[in-house]
Symmetry: D2
Subunit: 342 residues, 4 copies
């Protein structure tokens, strides 16, 4: 049976990526697409790369008949999202790609996002969407909150290690390198080609990046005590891809073994042989995450490198993986596309 899909916020990058992936998904059919300022246009006008597809026109959200929708992806801006979701039918299955429902504690939300949450009931209901670690909850969930793309990358590198007690919890630094599509299609000077290409810089450094809220919530929950990591993201002159270099104290062989064992049965997480390190070019456009571990020359220290595509495994691919689970579809359906290289 083909599931009827709506996408709210289809004129952004994550919305377009959802359409790209669903285009060859055998069990999903797009029946509604919304965009605010671009309502009235066709997807082909907004994203000519999708012009070969037969898609419904972009409409306003209130023009959608949600009774005809089996699952709704929400790819709207942060803050707007909670207002929209609060008004959607209470029995509609939703996969949200915004930041609005990632933090379970309303106080945490307010701390990191600067204002109170306006949909506290839905916030309580939401399941955190890191598929490999919340699979059972996601299967039963009505509302799944997709993770931050940086937050996903760091968690894939660290969760099994924290759970296993394989590393020192008080000395974890995540140095992250991110492609620019993670910043969305917003018109900012620093995202212009002339400003970004041929250069790199750190941003939201020193503990200010909002994805730290997710790290804190998840790592502390696993450890059963507060865990604070250091996190320095950098913007790189590339469109897709995140690479996280994670500095930990722990036995390198055990670190590798722990990660290898944790992911050996996972269809999308590949742990490389000890000493081999991954490249973002090898996961571009795909739902795969590659992880490598190397020992430092200083005994008792290891470096973990994890890569994924922020728009796919870090966002829209993850969302479809979760939607598959929620709809009783085989989890990998539509997601086995090979990366695009070169």
């Amino acid at each position: 049976m083909t599931q009827r899909i709506a996408i709210l916020g289809a004129s952004g990058y994550t919305g377009a990526e959802l359409v790209r992936l669903i285009a060859t998904h055998p069990k999903m059919r797009i029946v509604a697409l919304s965009a605010d300022r671009k309502a009235g246009l066709t997807m082909a006008e907004v994203f000519p790369f999708l012009r070969h597809l037969d898609l419904p026109p972009l409409v306003k959200i209130d023009e959608i008949d949600f009774a005809q929708v089996d699952l709704c992806f929400c790819a709207l801006p942060h803050a707007t999202t909670q207002e929209v979701i609060a008004k959607l039918p209470k029995d509609l299955r939703i996969v949200d790609l915004s930041a609005d429902f990632r933090l379970r504690d309303p106080a945490d939300y307010e701390k990191w996002y600067g204002k109170p949450h306006v949909a506290p009931e839905q916030q309580k209901e939401a399941v955190y969407g890191l598929t490999e670690f919340y699979r059972d909850e996601i299967r039963k969930a009505r509302l799944v909150a997709g993770t931050g793309c940086n937050a996903a990358t760091g968690q894939y590198a660290l969760r099994p290690l924290i759970a296993a007690g394989a590393i020192d919890l008080d000395d974890i630094a995540i140095d992250l390198k991110a492609g620019v599509s993670g910043a969305g299609r917003s018109l900012k000077e620093n995202l212009l080609h002339a400003e970004l290409s041929e250069g790199t810089y750190a941003y939201s450094a020193g503990g200010k990046h909002r994805h730290l809220g997710e790290f804190d919530q998840e790592f502390s929950k696993i450890a059963g005590r507060p865990v604070l990591v250091q996190f320095t993201p950098h913007l790189l002159p590339m469109n897709r891809g995140i690479l996280a270099t994670v500095y930990v104290k722990g036995d390198p062989a055990r670190v590798h073994e722990t990660l290898f064992d944790a992911y050996v049965a996972e269809p999308f997480i590949e742990v490389l042989p000890f000493g081999a390190l991954p490249s973002t070019r090898d996961i571009r456009g795909s739902n795969f995450c590659h992880i490598g571990v190397i020992g430092d020359r200083i005994p008792g220290r290891a470096v973990i490198v994890a890569v994924l595509d922020n728009l796919t495994k870090g966002s829209s691919g993850q969302a479809i993986q979760n939607a598959n689970l929620m709809l009783g579809i085989e989890e990998t359906t539509g997601l086995m596309l090979a990366p695009v290289f070169p």
Copy 2:
């Protein structure tokens, strides 16, 4: 029934692109992969982006049992190819991606490639692989010669116009912009990132590029008289994509109408509305070709812009499209992947 596929020359970009596409092709299964210097390695070692796939190891060509192969893709270097194909079983279906069998006339081959052909019998047998124009021959062919990627782009823009007599045959200029993967994985100074990025230049200008042999052969055949075009390729700092800007004399509206009518039923060729021009970003990683037409301010002149991905529609995607036809599979099978943007 799943067809058993061999790929010779799997360690180059077109070989890797074949594997990428076949990875999600429901009717093809890779049973053999060859590489010369890299025999003994796994594909995951040569191309880590394919490490999630269960693939046969790279072997030497003579280790392959071709009795167990339904169709063989040949992605070997020019010149080597003809020697290899001459020795393959005479009843093996082959799609060749090299330049060796594109020119039907042995004299043309010698003129453009500088030496006599060593497999003249196979050369006679080969069908030119521009699917949309050789569909019937390809269905019945044993050996199909994939086109040059530049040659395909220019022909999509011009063949219907020449056939319809819609343009002046003596004043055609093709100014072409090509991404670097078309040059293959060869180690040349001008292909280094530091030399190519942030710059552009013309190469093989003035009528020296070998794809002119294909233009001459095909355009003259259609016109029934010699047709010589001007052709200036440029190398651009991007990996995938070709954009051909074609200057013609003819009525712009008729030019557009002729192209529109010629391709209206084609699954992979999209002619944009009159006045709209395509971008390579909109076909990246896909088997689509977008074509736009605009009238010049000088009456009686039109500009046609055609774009495709050199590795997909210009090479490996085209090869699979042809293989589908040869094997009795629906032509678009495995090729409806949406482009990757951004």
Copy 3:
């Protein structure tokens, strides 16, 4: 004697490029910088790459005491410029980098820019700033209008040929490839890194680009009859550089000889040996223009390729070259910086 320089519109790319070049100019000193929305900031805040320089703060134009200024560069947006310049002191030397004073005929201006000129007196007075061809007028000028960067590139390739009668005036096509800094620092979706990198497309094709007004004015004046060229600009994923591929009918050897002779004494124009073609990477960041000529395989046709850096020779470098002449400084002063490669 050091000349006192003001720059109006210092917060854009051409303004910043003027500062970059004047930073090592031995005879110029910046005494005033204006910016509209960014008045009150320092240049280091707007352009951290200039933070090592001791510069005046950004102010509003009316805060500048023009009595203390020997020459004023005007790097303001089109249309705004004519209003500003109309109000500046009538004896102030001005080099304008906008499009406002390039077209001498008010009717031409209105045709290409869509509204009447508001400073017709200054328009009459303005000298066209293509240094090599207006040197004597520029020396005596009070107001010099910098050329369009695309317009400069095409003219360097064609002016001597039109003057010499070396080519067919009715069959000239300029296919131009431009880096993105020519579009300025404006916030447009198509200028985002994620939209522009790894792709290319044509824009303002079919005779709509405003620089055609300059081509028409200048080529027709040289020829003594109307000359209409075809012109298709393309945006490329690079920051600096323009490459113009020009298709002409004429004897290739004569074309080369004519260009070589025309520029042999010019300090910034380099004509390469016959058959050699230039690359934008070889002029990046410099005031040089490289020109190459090759004969086509079709007798009587030649292809000319000209490259320059749009921000330097195409704009701010040209402006300083003109200012040097107006101020009685040796023409090449401050402009012999070598290109930056890689």
Copy 4:
């Protein structure tokens, strides 16, 4: 008085960068250029971007009359260099850009470079070329060993802190992002545009990178005890620029103050206001190094970010700065070129 300069190894990137900088240096004149395989060619043939310069032809080293040379830059490959320098006149001033004379202890050299040094006498004589910290020695030196470009970046961030005891010496991690020109003009698959652009990865991780030899030597010397840092370099899709993100334990305000005070009088080192972080785009093509400091949310931890252009401040610009000192020329002469942005 103009100094007569020879450059050995002029056909690589650092050789070309030396020529670019000397082109506008008022006190230096290039009298000899060597290249091995490219001897017999002109610089314009090897590097067309230098074609406007009047330069001596490329010759073999033994064709150079060193009696007519005041100072010789040596931009040869590692290992070759020590053989060449051992044979040069013993009174010739030399600035070496290779790795051969950076490590003072022959045992260290053998450890990091895998074989015994063949010019141990010159090794003893060599002064380490980090100008700001070896100024007096460099003034009197005959042979100066230019630093590694990564090694320079890390040292600018850390030396004053180690000297002041402002940070924990046992917990220093340098996560470094490097543009590709640092890898030179060598023909390697991973340096191809198609392999490098749109991606990033770590290399020589875990304590294997040879620049660690320099860190160990210098930091241990300053501290008076062994200091071992962690160091993970990453290759980025950009040509020029290094950004080092350095994780330290220490009071952030003191870290900033220490760095600010250390560099306040330095012409090329700019320490940004506390909390501001630098970008590589702001130093591209220049001899400047920008440094920023931010405090982490975890008390007692700071992040330092340092950027410089690997080919300029990290290599050829540094070399000229040192040569100026050795020749009694004002230190900043020829090096105040503003960065190139965008």
